[in-house]
Symmetry: C2
Subunit: 345 residues, 2 copies
DNA sequence: CATATAAAAGCAACCGTTTGCATTAAAATG
DNA sequence: CATTTTAATGCAAACGGTTGCTTTTATATG
């Protein structure tokens, strides 16, 4: 079929092992020989056989990408595909294979992961979400499997490799930005709190308040899960109050966009009466009315860094667990303005 | 490391080849022997080694998933991730591996595909987009590689395996629905026309008009590429006209959502003054104000059917190219109502 | 100059399955 | 009962690299 190492060896007049070692640039092959071999490889158009080398080295060069168990909404978040793209770009470059793993619920997902492991279908896993008490991560940890977490490690932080944004800092900057615009009454709107980034961003928000001597008001923090249909009245109630926030940090563009729409219905103008800042810088941010000032978290890079970590740990198993922080940046649009002066302060 | 076929053979008191044939349920092994072997496999917890069998059968059991070359917007479309999930679920079930392939532009993408092919990293490819004159598809076709297209085949339709919606029908039903609500002046709003589904949906729209003896008015059809920033004035101009459409078919939720926003700015109420129907049933449809009536195209199933086709063609190479049509369904929300009676008809 | 040492290349076993062909055992046939 | 046919199993050579160890060759040492 295609050209093998033996044919190259024959043409170059050396043994197959010499060809193999030349490919890896093994030091015990002389420069002259290497050049001779490389010429032969070029001439024949040699490409190493992935399967054969996987078998010989007992290394599948395959990375499993674990998506969260499906609840349809989650996937509307462009984050996942961007991260997958980041991973795949790196895999493509380094001649790795990536295989996405998904399941309709947690137990199916776990099942698939187990058979993937048993069949040696993946060398390691990149987990694209992080939440408290996740059975998948627990399994990977307990089995001593190689994995990297995109997001924050809930426990065993020192033993797990993870790639994340500095969500505390991001939350702090978001709130600080609003504060710098003169806002004092700032709310925090979040979705599913089991996803860890939510909490981090909130911590950052609280930190910024504290740094500016603004008392934290728990009644300004609402958690809504409108995506799953269950509209909770908390947010609406809060907006009705005369003492409502003049600005909001929303943990996500989709939520922020929802907030803006709610405001329209309640005759609250954004940004004049309410400033909004959010995260992810997705298309929702651009499509929102007014377009949202949003913190871009570099999803693509989160993916590619995770893949890079994965590969270096595969190739160098005694590396220690590292954490990688991917920078974020604020994209200013029309949803935040200076707080209008009011008489009551 | 893990348990091999030889250990199973030893325990069962047969040869390795018998074990191998038992796994494939080969007819020339007696039932008694098979049972004996299966017991041994269970007892040892045997799992076949993927790499070894790939090597021996010269079959990598790996499917490449080709994403369109990146223009950031494209990926905001939840379609891709859903399709990937559909593919991956099937791959996971059938012990296949899927590897996503992407590149920042067409030439990089092509490059990656070529090395993937050369290294035997994929058995076949699923192309997740279809446009006219696509170099990637041309390459795959000319090299005689196995691929399945999600979307419509631009040429060589009879030789290519593809999985698609009946977009003509979907477009027709969308328009027909508006017509059934009494609309006669119906516009068509589309994005990038090089993506083939756009044209099909438009054909369906035209068909519905014709079937109802409604003259087709080209001035009612606008193509906008607002996502790439280039806002074209055509749509706005059309909406300003007194004789503007009373309803729109939009080729995509994102566009429809944009249209609704434009209407707000122009004091046109949706759906009272303008009904809108669109496609994809994404989160954008649910988030839009008012929420969009949209045709769900079953992205997930498009992916899983494509994977199923791929696998059956890998395992049975002399199968003829088939096309698979995945059904769509309309999801009615608040963006379409009966046309208000007006005096001029 | 003989010998120790280092550098370069080759040998051959191995990774775990698959599969064509040979072999054996059992059943059918003359 | 000998012989052909059929069914069931085993043998051993692939598949294409990798790698520990040995052999060869070149260089340094006493």
């Amino acid at each position: 079929m295609s050209v093998t190492i033996k044919e190259v060896a024959a043409l170059a007049g050396v043994s197959p092992s010499t060809v193999s070692r030349t490919c890896k640039d093994h030091p015990s092959i002389s420069r002259q020989t290497k050049e001779k071999v490389r010429r032969a490889m070029d001439q024949l158009g040699y490409e190493p056989n992935f399967q054969a080398s996987s078998l010989a080295t007992q290394n599948s060069r395959t990375i499993g990408i674990i998506l969260p168990p499906s609840e349809r909404e989650t996937y509307e978040n462009a984050f996942y595909l961007e991260a997958v793209r980041g991973i795949s770009i790196l895999c493509n470059q380094r001649q790795y294979i990536n295989t996405v793993i998904t399941g309709k619920d947690e137990s199916e997902l776990l099942q698939v992961i187990k058979t993937t492991v048993r069949n040696g279908l993946a060398e390691g896993f990149i987990v694209l979400y992080s939440r408290e008490q996740d059975p998948v991560v627990n399994y990977l940890y307990e089995e001593g499997l190689l994995y990297v977490l995109v997001g924050k490690a809930f426990r065993n932080a020192n033993q797990t490799i993870y790639v994340d944004n500095d969500n505390v800092l991001a939350g702090r900057e978001a709130a600080q930005y609003l504060i710098s615009l003169g806002h004092r009454k700032i709310g925090y709107l979040s979705g599913d709190h089991s996803l860890l980034y939510t909490g981090d961003r909130k911590s950052g928000y609280m930190l910024a308040l504290a740094e500016n001597n603004i008392p934290f008001r728990p009644e300004y923090c609402v958690e809504t899960s409108f995506l799953s249909g269950a509209e909770n009245p908390g947010l609406r109630d809060l907006l009705k109050q005369p003492d409502r926030p003049t600005a909001f940090v929303a943990s996500d563009d989709i939520l922020a966009s929802y907030l803006e729409q709610l405001c329209v219905g309640m005759n609250i103008t954004v940004p004049e009466e309410l400033s909004v800042i959010s995260f992810n810088n997705s298309l929702f941010a651009r499509m929102a009315k007014p377009p949202l000032t949003s913190i871009d978290i570099n999803s693509f890079q989160l993916g590619s860094e995770a893949a890079a970590q994965m590969i270096s740990h595969i190739e160098n198993p005694n590396l220690l667990a590292t954490k990688t922080i991917v920078p974020h940046y604020i994209v200013k649009r029309g949803s935040c303005i200076e707080r209008a002066e009011t008489e009551n302060e």
